[in-house]
Amino acid sequence: MKNHLRVLRAERSWSQAELAERLHVSRQTVNAIEQEKYDPSLPLAFKVARLFSRPIETIFTVGELESKEES
């Protein structure tokens, strides 16, 4: 699964630690999500969407679906 978490975080000038604190997870978890090594659970993904006031599907996308929609 792909995501735009790093970009959204950078727009708000938050560090990974700050974002982690807001999401009640560890900094390592934020880092793993940003690096797309870990896919968050649905509740955590919704929490991220709520935090950035964006629809969940604009933050998290499935790589294959995204490329099909673009073509």
Binding site: A17, A20, H24, S26, R27, Q28, A32, Y38, L44
Partner: protein, 130 residues
């Protein structure tokens, strides 16, 4: 579930593990010196109690982990369980073949080794998400 809480509970786990090892080493030394049976049993039970504290610390730590770290623990156990069986199986096969592996002649010598596959599993699982 903050990083600070996770660190605190991790420190508690390490502290109880250190306590367990210390009590167990004293127990083994006392047994080897042939001290009175009451002292041996008392120290043995103290080691069991220390193990109980260690398990309580582990359970507390699990409660404070976030979802990714819980998954890491699960993957570590999924690797450690068959790896521990493999280790005991290997020692059993060697014993049955007539080779006594030094230091592991009895079940009481094997249990500390079972922690090793968990360490290995944890290292593999943590590396995956780093």
């Amino acid at each position: 579930m903050s990083s600070a809480a996770q660190r605190r509970s991790g420190t508690y786990v390490l502290a109880t593990a250190a306590l367990l090892m210390a009590v167990y080493v004293v127990f083994v030394l006392v047994v080897d010196r042939g001290e009175h049976v009451a002292l041996r049993v008392a120290l043995g039970m103290l080691a069991v109690a220390a193990f109980g504290l260690f398990i309580a610390a582990e359970v507390r730590m699990l409660g404070e982990l976030d979802e990714m770290h819980r998954r890491i623990q699960l993957e570590a156990l999924a690797i450690a369980y068959p790896a521990a069986i493999l280790l005991v199986f290997t020692l059993g096969v060697l014993e049955r073949a007539g080779i006594v592996v030094w230091g592991f002649q009895r079940l009481r010598d094997v249990w500390p080794l079972v922690a090793l596959p968990y360490m290995l599993g944890l290292a593999i699982a943590m590396r995956r998400y780093r």
